[in-house]
């Protein structure tokens, strides 16, 4: 029988080696979102009250289309990481937490794909 306390044994096992990746990607996406979200707010202010044709013309510009795709993709990825932490903190039931966790990832990735697809459809549309 081991003389180690359960806590000491757990400490000896080290981390699950998963948290660091989450932490770093959360920062990387956060840093990327500093210019992207400022650009997005500026663009939305410029487009306020614009007609459909004006918005389409704006979205056809390669710089705008690429920036918008990046913003949608990175923002939703950053959002998925953040929501994951919130669920980890507030849902104690493990099975329910897992279901919510997988569900939120699916929703985020689906919406990221849909958003980027819509931008590309407008950008490449006739």
């Amino acid at each position: 029988m081991s003389m180690q306390s359960p806590l000491s044994r757990a400490k000896g096992l080290g981390s699950a080696k998963e948290g660091l990746h989450h932490w770093i990607v959360q920062r990387f996406t956060g840093i990327a979102l500093v210019p992207l979200s400022l650009w997005f707010m500026w663009a939305m202010v410029c487009l306020a009250g614009a007609e459909h044709a004006e918005v389409v013309a704006w979205m056809k510009s390669p710089a705008n289309a690429v920036s918008l795709c990046l913003f949608v993709g990175v923002a939703l990825y950053h959002s998925a990481l953040g929501v994951q932490v919130v669920l980890e903190d507030y849902i104690s039931h493990e099975g329910f937490r897992m279901v919510k966790m997988i569900g939120q990832k699916f929703v985020h990735y689906f919406l990221a794909a849909l958003g980027i697809f819509c931008v590309l459809q407008v950008a490449f549309g006739a």
């Binding site: 306020a48 949608v72 923002a75 939703l76 958003g115 697809f117 819509c118």
Partner: protein, 133 residues
């Protein structure tokens, strides 16, 4: 000798009710709250992009939603949330770099974040409402 169970009797953290109110904890809670609000904002943005892609009629409906009282309040809330989460996110990055941990630094940084995000929100809406008038 019995198996010890150290986990059960240990104090758990944090117990919010034992703390005196502080601006720092409000800002921390607000960072998470604005983050969750922005998640729903991002969902709304995708809906707006889908409306643009769907054509002029869907776009007109989306714009009508955005200009309704509820839509305007949400847009205002999302704009403040974005600016606050952005500014406080930069504050977090400064902490990650290892600085800003003194009591004075924590409070000064916090007040700067609030001031800048309120200012950016005010400028944004002044331009928006000024342009619409």
């Amino acid at each position: 000798m019995s198996q010890s169970q150290p986990s059960t009797n240990r104090p758990m953290s944090p117990h919010l009710q034992v703390y005196r109110w502080q601006i720092t904890m409000t800002l921390s809670i607000l960072h998470r709250a604005t983050g969750v609000a922005l998640t729903f904002g991002a969902f709304a943005l995708v809906a707006w992009l889908a409306a643009v892609a769907a054509g002029p009629e869907a776009f007109a409906t989306a714009q009508a939603c955005l200009h309704s009282p509820v839509g305007a309040v949400l847009a205002f809330g999302w704009s403040f949330s974005l600016y606050y989460h952005l500014c406080n996110g930069i504050r977090h990055l400064v902490w990650d770099a290892g600085s800003g941990y003194s009591m004075k630094g924590l409070y000064t940084g916090g007040y700067i974040v609030v001031a800048v995000s309120v200012l950016l929100t005010a400028v944004t809406w002044a331009v928006l409402l000024g342009g619409a008038a």
